[in-house]
């Protein structure tokens, strides 16, 4: 009776298969922080963590009736395979949606994807060899970082401030990479209502960034899921509207419903063709049913009015969070005030590590995403004293209560730091302790 490294039960994983797994799975590990997020889903917890749109604001009964009707009348189309590039009618509608942000595109330029997360995956697949460099803001969207990591890209973070990605920092980063013989494969940016930072690039910066990338011949990828969710109803021009070479990612997850998993990418033809082939290899085609639902929604519902409703809801919630932060947070805590989108970025006093604080927050029944989740590799240290709050889902009273609880947690942490004295360095945490939580 001697067993080494294997398990005879059919219900158990055979460890003999482990050496057969690809090397890239070595970084796919359990982590302490990820485990803690299982608690965040409980109703007792005020979750300021996930960016879940408030889909209760949709006319659900009408949409339900319409979907039932679609199956009856267009079922043979909606339940069948489709083209890898996506439904032509939907691509026409997408062009109309993009026009609101000043983008002139042709339906042939559009590739429909399963959420814009898949567009990120496809882009990385067609651009990246292991070790290639991608430039991304510091901090950046965790889902993008995960996609980049899964293709073994090296992410180099570029500084940003309250006006978004810093052009000088971007210029230095491009030059630095080129000097090392590692020309960046692309620059990834979320210019409008940034996730997680909540800031928006000014028009002047947009023009400089587009110009800089064009001059440096580094493709620019604009991820714009929140662009239409500005609280003052004004929309800054998308980067893609300034230069047609910009690769543009769009999504209906925030302006309609994430459950449809419909996003898109607009790219210059040579890249678009590769994306279509990559999409075909990945999924054959996006869901025809989901595309039909979204297309019908755009054609038959007042989607612009719905966006206005969303804006009003999210503005009220943003206000509640900012007011409560102002009233409850101790001195030394700072935050951004987003003019749209879903997120507030909070900077804690130096020395507080938001990942280490998370269990205490869960004890107090409030959850957030630690800032280090939004950085890659060694850059994680930059996010240690920050965290992201999402205000899109909980109602106003819960948001206020959640922020009050968080303020209490920060006060406790400050007191603990005070009685323990300054932190000099920390034990060697594992890479996998990075909270690579999959949440929008």
């Amino acid at each position: 009776m001697s067993v080494e490294g294997e398990n005879p039960s059919s219900g158990m994983v055979s460890r003999e298969t482990i050496p057969l797994l690809a090397e890239r799975t070595a970084s796919m590990t359990a982590s302490e922080i990820r485990a803690l997020f299982a608690v965040a889903s409980r109703p007792e917890i005020v979750s300021l963590a996930g960016g879940m749109p408030y889909v209760s604001a949709l006319p659900l009964a009408e949409i339900g009736n319409k979907i039932a009707e679609l199956i009856k009348t267009r079922g043979t189309y909606a339940l069948q395979y489709g083209s890898a590039q996506g439904d032509p009618q939907l691509r026409e509608e997408i062009v109309s949606v993009m026009a609101v942000e000043g983008i002139a595109a042709h339906p042939d330029d559009v590739v429909v994807t399963t959420g814009s997360q898949q567009a990120l995956d496809l882009l990385t697949r067609v651009f990246i060899n292991p070790g290639d460099v991608i430039l991304a803001e510091a901090p950046s969207y965790v889902g993008a970082l995960q996609a980049f990591r899964s293709y073994e890209a090296e992410v180099v973070h570029v500084d940003m401030d309250e006006q978004g990605l810093h052009p000088e920092a971007l210029s230095s980063a491009i030059a630095g990479c080129q000097a090392q013989g590692k020309a960046p494969k692309f620059v990834y940016t979320i210019p409008t209502f940034h996730n997680p930072a909540g800031v928006t690039q000014t028009l002047e910066r947009r023009q400089r960034i587009v110009s800089l990338c064009a001059q440096s011949k580094v493709p620019l990828v604009e991820d714009n899921p929140y662009g239409l969710l500005g609280f003052d109803h004004q929309t800054l021009p998308a980067l893609r509207s300034i230069n047609e070479d910009v690769i543009y990612l769009g999504s209906f997850s925030k302006t309609f419903a994430p459950g449809t998993r419909v996003g898109w990418v607009v790219a210059p033809r040579v890249i678009r063709d590769k994306l279509i082939l990559a999409a075909e290899a990945t999924m054959l085609c996006p869901s025809a049913l989901a595309q039909t639902v979204v297309c019908t929604y755009l054609q038959e519902f007042d989607w612009q009015q719905q966006i206005t409703s969303y804006r009003n809801i999210y503005r009220e919630r943003r206000d509640a969070v900012i007011e409560t932060l102002t009233a409850a947070m101790p001195e030394g805590v700072h935050w951004t005030v987003p003019q749209g989108g879903f997120y507030v970025w909070v900077n804690l006093p130096m020395g507080i590590d938001s990942a280490l604080m998370l269990p205490r927050a869960l004890n107090a029944r409030v959850a957030y995403v630690p800032g280090s989740a939004f950085y890659s590799g060694a850059g994680r240290v930059l996010g240690e004293s920050s965290l992201r709050l999402s205000y899109c889902f909980p109602p106003v009273d819960q948001l206020r209560e959640g922020v009050r609880r968080l303020a209490g947690v920060v006060n406790e942490e400050l007191e603990l730091r005070h009685i323990l004295g300054p932190t000099q360095s920390k034990p060697q945490w594992r890479q996998s302790d990075n909270p690579n939580v999959s949440m929008p």
Binding site: M12, E32, M357, L416, Q424
Partner: protein, 323 residues
């Protein structure tokens, strides 16, 4: 009622930091008991639990709650108050075992060797001053030392501190999980876990499991990522040490008044001396957990194991009904 007709509630989830692992363990146990023909429901823990147990006409509870509520005696207290049969240790014994410092003290009283440790709370630090309190502890234990929450499992909040300037961060990490924290001497050696099965007919203690890990030790990632750790069953520590480990695990099980089953964790140092670390009354049952692997090494299945515990626990009640 024959035991095969039992309606069993597997309790899993809850609000503990170990919720995710608890849910995984609960599903494994539910599947195992379902295969044996029992009627099994997995119940999360909230205000609907008691009405749900009644609605399901539950005969017996099998707790797979890890961490607080499951291992601190709270859920056992509920079962006792409700008159509901349950698998595992009583509330009082579980409460004692969950307190690592108390369990170590009782183990020492039984003659077991356990790494020297100090317990601290934020109140004592505040009252006495961090430097005054921590300096003599650190000088006594030396580096490296282990900092961990006094209550809790899955290595959550645990750090191995190599040098003085890492201590504060390790304490902050541990205090985020519990208001009491242990500073414990780090013992270099082989990590071994041993499951005691108490008075369940046909079962004795399970073979010792040796855990082989990388440099980072048996932390959360190593515990719950398939392939991150290797396991040797029975542990390759020699027959004399194995025998001593079994005796030690049974001794601590008995001394704490534990019931049905428990898993004790030890370090065996290069001289063959075993050091008791802690004991778990609701050990993990995930596909990567130690106990299921020890069961399989005996040629039996998790279904055999869970069924035996259920039969034994139910017979203990003489068929008393929970209403």
């Amino acid at each position: 009622m024959t035991t095969s007709n039992l309606k069993i509630a597997v309790l899993a989830g809850g609000l503990s930091h170990e919720r995710e692992i608890s849910l995984q363990s609960g599903l494994q146990v539910a599947e195992a008991l379902g295969s044996a023909g029992y009627t099994v429901s997995v119940c999360d823990i909230d205000t609907s639990l008691v009405p749900k147990l009644r609605e399901l006409e539950t005969n017996l509870a099998f707790s797979m709650l890890h961490g607080s509520l499951g291992e601190d005696g709270a859920i056992q207290t509920l079962c006792e108050a409700l008159g509901l049969a349950y698998v595992g240790s009583t509330a009082g014994a579980a409460h004692l075992a969950f307190d690592k410092f108390a369990a170590k003290s009782i183990a020492q009283a039984q003659g077991l060797i356990t790494p020297p440790a100090f317990i601290i709370t934020t109140d004592t630090i505040k009252l006495l001053g961090a430097a005054h309190l921590l300096t003599p502890m650190v000088e006594s234990l030396g580096f490296p030392l282990v900092v961990k929450p006094n209550r809790g499992g899955s290595s959550l909040g645990l750090s191995v501190v190599q040098q003085a300037d890492e201590l504060t961060s390790a304490l902050v990490h541990a205090f985020a999980y519990d208001s009491a924290v242990l500073l414990e001497k780090f013992i270099v050696g082989t990590e071994v876990a041993l499951t005691v099965i108490d008075a369940v007919p046909g079962w004795g203690s399970l073979p010792a499991v040796e855990i082989k890990t990388g440099q980072q030790g048996y932390d959360y990632t190593a515990r719950y990522t398939v392939g991150e750790s290797q396991f040797v069953i029975p542990a390759g520590v020699g027959p004399d040490v194995l025998s001593a480990l079994t005796e030690a695990a049974e001794s601590i099980h008995q001394a704490l008044g534990l019931r049905d089953y428990s898993r004790a964790d030890f370090i065996v140092d290069p001289q063959g001396q075993h050091w008791f670390l802690e004991v778990n009354v609701s050990p993990g049952m995930t596909i990567n957990s130690l106990l299921p692997q020890a069961v399989h090494a005996t040629g039996r299945t998790l279904t055999d194991f869970c069924s035996a515990l259920v039969e034994h626990a139910y017979q203990r009640t003489n068929g008393a009904r929970f209403t």
